[in-house]
Symmetry: D2
Subunit: 285 residues, 4 copies
């Protein structure tokens, strides 16, 4: 069709796009990148503790929402700009890159320093936002809409590239399904298709995809085996008190278990887990 | 749940909300209101001809998109602000109210004179847009997201009411389904639930719900029998040349047939079709 | 495609198929036929009382399951052959036709006297059962599978016709969806498509489609307006004690209300409600 | 709920059920079992060639349909009993176990010698068939219905166990979704849930789940990483001439590639690939 994706297609860039999030930190290369942290930044102690766990587990990127897209106007809406500052401070202390969601291009000014700007599932076809982000030269994480076809997802990415921004990472986070036993249905076939059809990196969010802590590790390993380039995973230091999505967050121990189990699976498919410089040196010894 | 809908609930206003779109034109009262017109305003001749057909068929409101949310960045994106002017001019000439979609609150300045501001299915959970529209005192048409539950839809409306705007009309436009024989799956149970649970008017878009011209009339009659307060229906004077969604648009004759078939069904459920003043006088004679 | 439906297509029989269920009782003609009764035959008192309500409300057919396809092996499985006898006895006493589900062709011997043999949604593609029923010369009610496309549904009917049985009534009962606010999603577009594409009568089961009593009447009226040929509706004389599906059954008063509200809607679309001979005479006076 | 699964639950048998399909061939143990072959047995040459490829690639089980549940009555319905004989002969020549679908308990007599009796997705809730198979003491492969929840799937298995047959293997084969880019949506979370909640082995059919050859290998590796106990995969020696489902079948080279890529992934999660005795000896040298 004349309206189909073009710039995102693999034949435009057969070697694949690598999105750089910081010194030595690239998504879409050989290294598999784990981004972890709480659903929402709640206060200084929580995000500081989370950053500590995330860094010591060997992850590359700290996640934490400051502007939260909540189904109900009466749910916690995030701390806003002050939340971004807490996130960045916690990340900087541990030399982590930071990823957070942007809901409105008016908020972009307060998001300087954020390495990766997330477009959430609900905004995948918010074309005004896509066009604004397409005008930047900053990495964007584009989540698949909750009932978006792969074609629609790729075309949403095409909006970013057509506006001039090539630094796009795709993120599968589960699609809406009929079975209440999981929050969404993780669609790993879409990850493989997106990898085959485009030159963009593709990561997986197993936390929103399943909504259940006990499914996060096995499905993370499955994502790695299927060829994903990384993970976006929820970890909360104290999930029982979380202001949002506590049921699906890993505990610190769970994150550490995940980071222990990933390397052999990645090795089996010719990849490796991203490690910070000090970690790599420690492992080498 | 603490995060559930409150202000939209029927017990807040048992008599129901009536949204006024113009002199003698109210949605949510006894009269069933038909809004019709092309998917997109394409040029002056097209929207003028459409307005002529819409008015002479006895409809109340002219629809026509100027800012189009298109899946592909390479598809026709609408005429923008000039399209709004053409729409308003055509509507004014026939004393029709106008409804058009808003994608970005930055465009609101150019939408003065539009009686009803549509939030499209893709933006149902664009909370930045909802908050901006909640701050206005103008009627808003809130389409159900393509995979939104009824609860999520009502909570999106709650964002508008919580921000102070009570002039909200809900619109069911089909949900995403597995059967390629229709574009979406029209969910009339959601219409009945929304009417029972809230005090807001609820209308139906049978064109996007089905994507097939030959289904529009029977499903419009079904919507009327189920208790909907109106319709938003696509009619194109020359559908074979339409720049978008030509397959689902009624021809002028189809719109006239619909307007002939609605009154008996509405009468059977204690409603009546909205008619313009001259039409009512003509019918009375 | 070579494998598509043929014998069921409308051009094979433009005037439409009429399926005769008893003296003066035809589905697919001008009269709209309501089939009502409990989900399951529970005991003699219950089905006798149900038959009394169904007949006095003016319905044509008594429904009641004897062989129940239950999701769990520990749920009530129906009374089996004795249930069939109770159903037939109750129906005969009121000159009602009877409809009941068949799960296994080995049970057909015990189903003599049943006017309409139902193939349930779970068995829509039980081709062994379809072939067995195709070899009979008895009316079959073919429910749409819970995730069957319209094409698959028509092809399941094609199995019956290809095996020689033309007495087939289609029944839409809702498809599986993502929204827990209804048990299934009633797909009235499928009813219209099936009517347009085939010569078979099509009825609607609003009880299973919604799972909620308060939605049954409005959606029944919608089905009538959309062009359905009848309804299969659950009514239980004492729903709070029902052994299955009590939440979706109409009370006797609800059934009477439905039968009062249907005639004007049917009249609006050129149809009429089927009435038994004595009722017609009573109405005529 | 009182009607929930009981006998299938893991706490009934914490060590897990192992289903024996032949000498040294067990599903549900440490070894991961690959079952491969064509969708349908077409003729002697085809199934003989397929068996040769399957055995030499190191797979354990030969699949091939003889009684085919086809959507259209005009599609190839399988060779029936003669097809079973061809399948068994080909399997025996290579010391492979055989798996084939059963549509009707009347066909069971002709299925002596088949190691594993498959209940297809369309028959997952064909309770008459489940009860008949529950009365046997033979291994049954229960595919998940195309829109069955995990609970419904486990309850279908419960029918088999409640009737006395514990030799049950579950098979995820994708659920119906809205995205035409794959035939179905592979739901690996359901595999993990089924493994966690029950003591039954769970395998994955990546061929029907995706309908696309190029997705089969990555998703097979993902299934292995997620903890599945095996695969049921389509391989056709000459897919372009296949009478059914040619688009999703691996070529012989694809099957060999899969069998080369599985061992490292299995090793990474503490499992190993099942190998025939001669193969194990050859590998050991």
């Amino acid at each position: 069709m004349t309206g189909g994706p073009r710039l995102v297609l693999r034949d435009q860039k057969p070697q694949g796009t690598q999105v750089r999030l910081g010194p030595g930190l690239v998504v879409g290369g050989r290294a598999f990148v784990v981004m972890a942290g709480p659903c929402a930044v709640e206060d200084e102690a929580q995000i500081a503790e989370a950053a500590d766990v995330v860094a010591s587990a060997g992850c590359a990127v700290l996640r934490g929402g400051a502007f939260k897209p909540r189904t109900s106007p009466y749910s916690f809406q995030g701390l806003g700009a002050p939340g971004v500052r807490l996130l960045l401070e916690a990340a900087r202390r541990h030399r982590l890159a930071a990823v957070t969601e942007v809901l409105d291009d008016d908020d972009l000014a307060g998001l300087e320093g954020v390495a990766l700007l997330q477009v959430g599932a609900r905004n995948m076809q918010n074309f005004a936002l896509l066009k604004a982000l397409g005008g930047l030269r900053r990495p964007v994480l584009l989540k698949r809409g909750m009932a978006a076809t792969v074609d629609e997802w790729l075309l949403a990415a095409e909006y970013l590239l057509a506006a001039g921004n090539e630094q796009v990472i795709l993120c599968e986070r589960g699609v809406r399904g009929f079975d209440p036993s999981t929050r969404n249905t993780l669609d790993l076939a879409a990850v493989v298709l997106a990898k085959q059809r485009t030159h963009l990196p593709v990561i997986v969010d197993p936390s929103h995809a399943t909504g259940r802590t006990e499914l996060v590790i096995p499905l993370s390993l499955a994502a790695a085996a299927a060829g994903a380039d990384g993970l976006l995973v929820e970890m909360h230091p104290w999930p029982s008190t979380a202001l949002s999505d506590g049921d699906q967050a890993l505990l610190p121990d769970g994150l550490r278990e995940l980071m222990r189990k990933l390397p052999p699976v990645l090795g089996a498919v010719g990849r490796e887990l991203w490690r910070s410089e000090p970690m790599r040196r420690a492992v080498a010894r």
